[in-house]
């Protein structure tokens, strides 16, 4: 069943802040096997001009994926998450995420399209720090496959 177009433009209130810790960044960098010292050594990060260790470019997804649960689980939207696959992902950075950040995500349903019976939903997440400064915007495209298709 096609999703309701009237949800386009719907916004969700900013999430409670996610506090980014050095050890979480280290854990993520190790999980993707990336030994770049900017992720684990504050001195190496400072040598590059950052105030503390920074997170890998795809790390913000950890925060926005968590936040998106509110949108995909919105009973009024009625998305069948068991049929959803991740179609596209995009990030536009003002600066890298770094240790000590307290980040809130404000989400908007940017578009809803129906393509060959599949629902295609784009959720935009605006990520700001505690001072209200923009850090990164993320776009997650979800494709809900039509019922009956494997």
């Amino acid at each position: 069943m096609a999703l309701d177009q009237s949800f386009v433009g719907r916004t969700y209130p900013p999430t409670a802040p996610y506090e980014v810790g050095r050890e979480k960044i280290r854990e993520f960098a190790e999980a993707v096997g990336d030994p770049n010292p900017a992720y684990t050594d504050p001195e190496a990060a400072k040598a590059l001009g950052h105030p503390d260790v920074i997170a890998p470019p795809t790390f913000p997804f950890v925060i926005t994926y968590r936040a998106a649960a509110e949108v995909v689980g919105d009973p009024q939207l009625g998305l069948d998450f068991s049929r959803v696959v991740h179609g596209d992902q995009k990030f536009a950075y003002t600066r890298p995420v770094r240790a000590g950040d307290r980040l809130a995500v404000a989400q908007t349903i940017e578009s809803i399209k129906s393509l060959a019976g599949n629902d295609v939903l784009v959720i935009r997440g605006e990520v700001h720090d505690e001072a209200g400064e923009h850090v990164v915007t993320t776009w997650m495209k979800l494709v809900a496959r039509a019922a009956g298709e494997a």
């Binding site: 854990e27 993520f28 190790e30 999980a31 993707v32 096997g33 990336d34 770049n36 900017a38 992720y39 040598a47 590059l48 001009g49 950052h50 920074i54 890998p56 470019p57 795809t58 997804f61 950890v62 994926y65 968590r66 068991s82 696959v85 991740h86 179609g87 596209d88 992902q89 995009k90 990030f91 536009a92 950075y93 600066r95 890298p96 776009w139 494997a150």
Partner: protein
């Protein structure tokens, strides 16, 4: 931001050093834990097959994280990435063995932009198939 590559030293067509990444079931379990994405298609073969997949598949976001390393290892400063986007075109199927799957990533400067930035186009393949489409990063150089 202090990238080690100078804008004036690159031109359209400049190739970035290619890299090959290995993905095993162990990798996926670690990534699930670190990222918080516990979708069972990434660790449970029985579940993956029940929803029509050939086997357990890698998180698309894991592949995306590996692909950008071609750019961040080139510039040295991961904070120099200004934009990064991909389309997940084919899943990376990860068999239950010690070898796992491999993902090969190549990158090339596609466009020189304003503000010392360049657009890098990435190509990621696994088993001869492209697994990412429209994989592009904009990165600020020195």
């Amino acid at each position: 931001m202090t990238a080690k590559i100078a804008y004036d030293d690159v031109e359209v067509g400049t190739e970035l050093p290619a890299q090959t990444f290995t993905v095993t079931r162990d990798t996926l379990v670690r990534y699930a834990g670190a990222s918080g994405d516990f979708n069972p298609i990434h660790w449970n073969e029985r579940f993956a097959k029940a929803v029509g997949l050939p086997d357990v598949i890698a998180h698309g976001m894991f592949t995306m994280a590996e692909a950008i390393r071609v750019v961040t290892d080139w510039t040295g400063d991961p904070g120099a990435v200004v934009e990064y986007g991909v389309r997940f075109t084919k899943p990376v199927v990860v068999p239950d063995d010690d070898k796992g799957a491999t993902v090969e990533v190549a990158g090339k400067v596609a466009e020189k932009l304003d503000g010392n930035t360049v657009r890098v186009d990435l190509v990621a393949t696994s088993g001869g198939q492209k697994v990412l489409g429209m994989a592009r990063a904009v990165v600020r150089l020195a």
